[in-house]
């Protein structure tokens, strides 16, 4: 599971009104290099909840990766920024797409229900009594 996916998932337990974002408890994870596509990031950025993304990186023990506040768009998409080590766009790209959670748990912030991540796949199936 990538953090881009984590940013789109919410708890669907019955009665929960604020099931987003899910708290990430990673157990096993790795990084895999992915080619940076600025257009894709530009398309996704408006849909990203920045606070949830930052919280996920903190849960992975990466407090330095992203700033608390989302950088301005013209800074992120500045000419040539993709080639600069440590630039905002490269950090965002790394956070969203290059970190893979193989094993872990996603925890509902309201009900504390734990959804397992197994072989990189979150299992969001509810039990009968949670529906």
């Amino acid at each position: 599971m990538r953090l881009l996916t984590h940013n789109m998932l919410a708890s669907n337990v019955r009665g929960v009104t604020s099931g987003f974002p899910l708290k990430l408890e990673p157990v096993k994870w790795c990084t895999k290099e992915v080619e940076l596509n600025a257009d894709f990031i530009r398309g996704m950025l408006p849909k990203i909840d920045w606070k949830a993304l930052v919280a996920a990186t903190r849960a992975l023990g990466l407090p330095e990766l992203l700033p608390e506040e989302q950088p301005a768009e013209d800074e992120i998409f500045a000419e040539g920024a993709a080639d600069v080590e440590g630039s905002a766009i490269r950090r965002i790209h790394h956070a969203l797409l290059e970190i893979h959670i193989e094993e872990g748990t996603l925890v509902c912030p309201e009900s504390s229900r734990a959804f397992p991540i197994d072989k990189g796949i979150p299992n969001m199936m509810l039990h009968e009594d949670e529906v």
């Binding site: 789109m8 398309g43 796949i121 969001m124 509810l126």
Partner: protein, 342 residues
């Protein structure tokens, strides 16, 4: 999951009355091992519908078991191909036809091609091994989340996405379409290609799709329905219900509804620009091709290596043909739009 006993049994499959050559040959493969579930044939209710016990496990199990066979014969799209009416289909055409099905659905729903207006986020509801997800992600450069009940399919689909360099754009999760694990208003395109048949509660199915659709988003459902009822009818005729029951038992399908039922559900959810079409003639060429492929050496050996559930699914193809010829089953496309924010 080989079942060697099947090769030695003489028993004939119960409750099939067709006598096509395919069926007679197939009946030598053994008796029905799985007990028939008792099914409740009540008409479409508008109240919350409980999934029959074991339905979700049955669906997950069916696809966990048969996904590999299907993929080896038909490739990574697990849906029907779109053919011109009366066209002769063959294995060679099939993938092209499956892609055409996706494109025809997008065209029917008038999904914009303009890069500014193209969908950026997509949900594939009942995604199989992600054939549609990968195709749509590629076509639009969009991010696509797929959901399936089958962990085997999710894993296979993610691996295929990685192999195709799409793992940044495509992500499959195990989740229930009736309880989608997404916040409201997330997706520009909400897609369901031949998965609606599995949903025990059609209203909940559509309502979840509407919930996760962003304002102005397009919803596309391609699914099997039974024919619309006449104004004087309360239900289908007994022989029609019987035929549907046999099809449903083989494919872990709950009760079917009609295209009008979907339209009424969409209207009740205040969805806009609701359109439907009957594409039954455009998929009919597929079944003889499936039967022919099941009878090839590759088809037979694949089926024999898989479990009873898969074999039973393949053997029910003649029932689909029968249902189509009787005008009972309809391959239907339904599209609508989530209203833009006021």
């Amino acid at each position: 999951m080989a079942q060697p006993a099947l090769l030695h049994s003489h028993s004939v499959l119960p409750s099939t009355t067709t006598t096509s050559p395919a069926h007679r040959r197939a009946s030598q493969f053994g008796r029905l091992a799985a007990p028939r579930r008792r099914r409740n044939l009540r008409p479409m209710a508008s109240a919350t519908v409980q999934a029959p016990p074991g339905l979700k496990e049955g669906i997950a199990g069916l696809y966990d078991e048969s996904s590999g066979v299907w993929e080896s014969i038909w490739g990574d799209h697990m849906h029907h191909g779109f053919y011109d009416s009366g066209e002769a289909a063959s294995m060679a055409d099939h993938r092209r036809a499956q892609i055409r099905m996706i494109e025809e659905a997008l065209a029917f729903a008038a999904v914009p091609d303009d890069p500014e207006k193209q969908p950026k986020t997509i949900v594939d509801v009942g995604c199989g091994i992600g054939g549609s997800s990968r195709y749509l992600a590629n076509k639009y450069g969009a991010q696509c989340n797929g959901i399936t009940l089958s962990p085997v399919q999710a894993e296979r689909g993610n691996a295929l996405a990685a192999a195709q360099g799409l793992s940044d754009k495509v992500s499959l999760q195990v989740a229930d379409a009736l309880e989608q694990p997404f916040p409201d208003g997330q997706f520009d395109l909400v897609w369901s290609m031949e998965s609606g048949e599995h949903m025990p509660d059609k209203r909940k199915f559509v309502s979840e799709m509407a919930r996760v659709a962003a304002p102005g988003a397009t919803i596309i459902i391609v699914t099997w329905c039974h024919r619309n009822l006449e104004p004087s009818e309360n239900s289908l005729k007994p022989d029609e219900l019987n035929l549907l029951k046999r099809i449903c038992d083989a494919y872990y399908l709950p009760d079917w509804c009609s295209p009008s039922d979907y339209v009424n559900i969409a209207k009740s959810l205040s969805l806009e620009d609701i359109k439907t079409a009957d594409w039954s003639e455009n998929v009919a060429p597929f079944w003889p091709a499936v039967i022919r492929s099941a009878l090839t050496w590759k088809g037979i050996t694949s089926l024999l290596k898989s479990g009873w559930k898969t074999i039973r699914g393949a053997l029910v193809m003649p029932l689909m043909i029968e249902g189509y010829k009787k005008g009972l089953i309809k391959f239907t496309v339904i599209t609508c739009r989530k209203p833009r924010a006021a």
